[in-house]
Each structure stands twice: as structure tokens, then as C-alpha cells.
Amino acid sequence: MSPRARPEDNPLREGLRVGGASEPALFTIFGATGDLAQRKLLPAIYNLAKRGLLPPRFGVVGYARTDMGEAAFRRFAKAAIEAHSRTPIDERFWPAFASMLHYHAGGFDDASHFHALAGTIEGLDEDIGGGAHRVFYLSTPSSFFPVIVKGLGAAKLNRPTDLVRVVIEKPFGHDLESARDLAETVHRSFHERQVYRIDHYLGKETVQNIYAFRFANAIFEPIWSNSYVDHVQITVAESLGVEHRAAFYEETGVVRDIVQNHLLQVMALVAMEPPAAFEPESVRDEKAKALRATRPMVFSDSVRGQYGSGYVAGEEVLDYHQEPNVPADSNTPTYIAAKLEIDNWRWAGTPFYIRTGKRLAKRVTEVAVQFKRPPHLPFSREAAEHLEANSLVLRIQPDEGISLRFGAKAPTPTLSIRSVNMDFQYGSSFLADVPEAYETLLLDAIRGDSTLFTRQDSVERSWEICDPLIEQWQTGQPQAYASGSWGPDAADELLARDGRRWRRP
């Protein structure tokens, strides 16, 4: 590998506007013919290239068991991009992009295939001038992760450590023990700083906007604590059912599928202390601290549900048990509502209520910060009887934005105070095309910025929070809820016993 200088030492780079990667890179996709590669990875790489954000010297190596040549892989990639890219293929640009795509057929459990891959990568590295960063993206079923990282290590594709990164898709284990086992296997070949655990939720612009909202505005952070916040509600609602993924879902359930990763990560963003700097370890340290302070979930503060038949957006849908490949006696939860408590100075006594489920009334992800009521209202009871406490809602999807609810005098002859919403819609102020989460995260992986990726200590702590409940839910039956509703009645009772209620998203 030829020696490289750091790009910041290149005097011509100073002040260039590009926000993309500058160092040469080779991006290898394991499972390059799989569903994720087709739907997300190849389109994301194409859009990054179109936006001029990839390094000038860049190559993609598709790695899969399917026997095909380079030309066939390029045709395959074009079809995938045509089908799934957020922007159409530009035929004038395509030849230049296609020339970056390469293919290497091989299995995952044969060391000789990895040595051959090493040869392919060395050759490509030489072609693009040497010294390329190497990103290995494991877009395969998680059962192949151990054997792939082992193969990479054996073929010395894990070096040099400052240039090589491995990107791992969730699930990062299925409980604490398996997460530790996986980490141990991965760490035999890669240092933790080389491991990028991807959670596409964290690449969403509006999730990243939580950082900006909290830490770029002086007016909210002083009231962002148990002194002013009554409680927080986090909702991740899906309107779809398990579709064709019942086999996977039966193994997973709602806690492993959503809570352990997306939901706890969003909660950590809301609860974390301000980092000293927006750089990987500072941010991830603070998120890890917030998770460490979070009590493990308990049976008595949680509700599980399983969807029954019903109507979603006017369409009649099946009971979970009638979905293909779902056993008749399945007790897999498709819904959870739970109360989480964070034992630290900022949040002690202010619960975080979470709920997520399938086949709910609509698809929505939001964080609602419910403030305490004023200590005294100097108005008559009649004047303020319709006044709600202030709330701030961070809408993550689909109608991205921020709403602040406050009281205002209604234009009536007698004093009457009503709640009104001040609504900031993300799409109204920034109308430019929003990149897909995978574009953001892939670019970060290529650049070597791990801020938005999950560190092993957070993964383990998340399992520690979830495992007790998963264990307790092995037996017994979830409560049925009608498809198209907001979950079982018990979820309402969970908040009602604390004198609170769920907001309607």
C-alpha cells in the first residue's frame, strides 16, 4: 500500500466547499445481491456519487455467492437503482458510475475466497492510486457476521486499522449474552473503533435535528429537565403488519425489533447531557451515560399487545394469527407500552413512556415532551378549563417538524384561554431534497465518522434494559388490540394510574 499524506495537508483542499469524502475508498458489500443492497445500499451510493460526495477515487466491490461477472453486476445494480433510488438514473452519468462497480463471487465460510477477495481489493487499490480506505459492509443475515469478520481477519483485510472499517447491520445479538459473543468475535479481528454498528434511524435528518434543537438553542435546554418536564412520550407507530416477515418476527418480537435499538437510541438523544463537542466519542459517551442511568424494564410497568383484525386507513386487515407463517398459539408481542425511568440528576422522577407497535392507527414517530402545569393560574376555573399543559413535539416521521403547544386568549367577550399549536414544518423551511438515512450513514462510514453509529457499550446496556422483560414475556399471552387502534386498553391504564394520558399523534 503506497504511503498517503493526510488530505488536510493538501494546501489546495483548504476552504473547498465539498461536504463529502476526499480520501480514496473501496466499499465492499457482503451480500451484494441481497434485498438491503438492492433497496438501500446501491441506490444510496448512486445518489452520493450524483451529489458529488464520494471521493474522486472510489470503487464498490459487490461480494456474494451468486456467480456473475462484472458486467452482469453492473446491470443488476442499475436495475436495483432504477427500482429504488429517490432520483432517476442519469444515463449520461451512468457509465462513469458503472465503472466504479466491481464484483467478486465467493462464499462466506471459505478462507480461500477471502484471500482471493484480498487480491481483488489490492488490485483495485493500486488502480485508484493506492492508500484507499476500506469499508466492509455486512449486508447479510446476522448469522454470517462471525464467519465474515473471521474471514476478513484471516485474510488480513482488517489492516491497516486506521484505514479499515466494518459496518454491521442490526440485530447486534438477540440478547446481552449473544451481543457480547458477537462483539468478542468481531473484536478478535477488529478494534472497537473500526466497528460501525448501523441503525438507520440515527441517519434520519430529523433524528439528527434533535441534536441541533437541543444543543443549538439556548431557550430549551434550561427547561429540559425534571424541574419543568412532567414526562416524555416516545411513539414509534407502524401501520403495517408483519407482511411476509412473520418467520423473522416470530423470532424477534417488538422489543428486539424496535425498542432495543431505534427507540432506546432516540430516548438517549432526548435524555443525554450536552456533549463537549459534536465528535464521535463525546456524543457516544453521553448517550451511553443516559442508557446506563436507565432502569431495566419491568413487567409491572409494561403492557404487551398483539394485533387483531380491524381496519387500517379504511382497509380491512388480518389478525396476527392469520398472517402467513404465524403459529396459531403465537404469543409474540407486536406492541409494547412501557414506563422507563432514568436515575440521574436531570431526569429522576420524570418518566419516559414509550410505545411502539404494528398495525396501529397510522405510521408516526415522535417525541412529545410534556411540561408541568403552571404552579398557579390567576384565572377563573371557567377561563382556563380547556387549557392543556405546554408540550413540545418533535415529529420524526412522516410529517417532520416541531410543534409547541401553549395557551392563548381566545377572541371571546369573556376571558377564555385555549391551547394553540405553533408548528414548524421541517419541509417548509428546508425544501431541498432530503437525503436518505443510508446516504448519510454510508458517507459517514466512508469518511470515518462514527458519531451516528452505535458503540458496543450502548448495545450491551440496551440489552440489559430489555432482557428482563423479554424473559418475563416468554410465557403468558399479550393483550389483543384492534388493528387501526392505538394499542390495548391496558396501555391507557398504564398512564392513567400516574394521572396521565397518551397524546394522539
Binding site: 503506497s2 488530505p7 494546501p11 489546495l12 462513469a96 408548528d423 423551511s429
Partner: protein, 304 residues
Amino acid sequence: MSRHQSGWIEVSEVERALAALRAGEGHPSVRATTLNLVVRCGNAEHLKIANRVLDRIGSSRPLRAMIVMPATGTPRARVSSDSGSDQRHGVFNELVELRGNRVALPSSVTSLLVADLPVFLWWQGELPPEGDAVLEEMIEMTTRMIVDSDQAGIDAVARVDAMATGLVDLAWVRTGPWREAIAALFDGRSQRKLLDHLVAVEVSGPRNQSALLAGWLRSRLGREVGLETRRAVRVNRVRLICGDESFLVERSGRNEHGTASGPGLAPRTVALPSSAVALLLAGELDRLGAERPFEDALAEAQAA
């Protein structure tokens, strides 16, 4: 896209007329506006370009635009608003066309700026001579000024640069993809060494863009770099002579792509887009403040 327009009215009636347009279109009480854009037009051709550009960028950046064109008499205004393609969000743009006595125009503009939002001034065509009070007044209210040295000339732009806090030159912006491609040639250590021997650059392209590219190299390297220009309507080729070796970035025919090559480097494809004014301008509306490399390059280009 729906556009509604008033007749010619007094400047003092503009806000009321815009409110009436909003109400008439059933817009919600909350609206998004992210910037003020003042477009100075010197002639009918500028006006045509301004309207075309605003049509294109309006749907991506909610703004209040003021098209300012000198004429005789007390300034009069014509207002319009359009809801673009995003009516769901209640996003719409406001356009105020102002015509009147040149010296009275800056105060009209000041009275119509949306409070607290940045003010961009896009000055089309040539710049007025030194000491022009109208220009000074306009710069005074401006957060960022956008000019085009391909139209105004390097010297005039350098003069304004000394007055404006955040100036950008569209000719400089056009050289952006070329600067990216050139910089990338020198990321490798052995190529970096050759950069120390850069003595001259040959550019096939417009005179001012060529001068800015050479000025950029001089300012980044802190030493003299010769320039040889072959005139063309857009930059097509840049050759960097480093002692006995040379590096080349060259457009392929009429394409928006080209190749970059040099000693020890396999030729590779690079993007060399020639963006329309609307796209260039839209990009500049997302930035605030001065751009140091441009100021340095401009100073070097003017000194040469």
C-alpha cells in the same frame, strides 16, 4: 404552481397587498420564510433572467424576493405570491417588483425587508463606479452580496469586496468543480511533492474564471504561478505544469464530466457540471458570511 399578482401600487401598500394575496389564497396563519433576496436589474434582459431564476429557486427556498429596477419617478411596486408545488405546507414565495428613481430605491427596499432574516443582494451586470451612494446603501443592508465577475470584471468585484462583508462571485462558484478535481490530484504523497514544483497553469476558459483559478493556486501555495489562457465560453481544460511533469483536468466533449490525470495516477472520471445561474444562485443562498479562499484568490487575480 399558482401565482397571483397585484397591479402597480405605492410602496407603503405592499405589506397590505401581500397579506391580501395570502388571505385570498387561503394560506395558513403560519408561514415559512427563510431569507430576503434583493435582485438588482439594470435592463429588461436582467429582469427576464431574474424572473426565470426566481421561478426555479422559489420552490426550494421560501423567500421574499424584491426585484429592483431603476426608472423615473417615485418608486412603485407590484406584488405577487406563488404557492409553488408545496401547497400542503403552506409554503409560498413573495415577489415584490420595485421600479422608480434610483436613489429612492434603497429606502423602499429597507422598508420591505422581512425582519431578522438574512438579506442577499444579487447584483446583475456591471457594478457602479467607486463612491456610488446607492450601491453603498444597498451593501449596508446586505448580509451577502452576489456578483458575477464574468459580467462586472475582476477589478470592480475586488472594489466591492472591500466594502461588502460577505461577497461571492458566480464566476468563482463556476470554477468550484474544477478546483475540487485539481485538489484531488494532489492527495497522494508523491503528487503532493510535485505540487511544490508547480510553475504555471494553462486554462482554456473565460478570462475571469481563468484568472481566479490562477489566483486560487497562487494564494493557496503562497507563491507565483504563471497563467496562460486560451479563451473559451466555459472552462474546458486546465493543465498544471510542475517542472517536467504535468497534470490535466479536461472536459470530455460537451459533457458534464471529464477526466483527471497526472503522474502516477490512472485517469479517472470527474464531474464538471456547468450549472445554470439558478442552481448557482440557489447554492449561494444556503451560505452566509465571507469565503476566505475566494477573497484571497480575488486579491491575487487582481494583483496579477
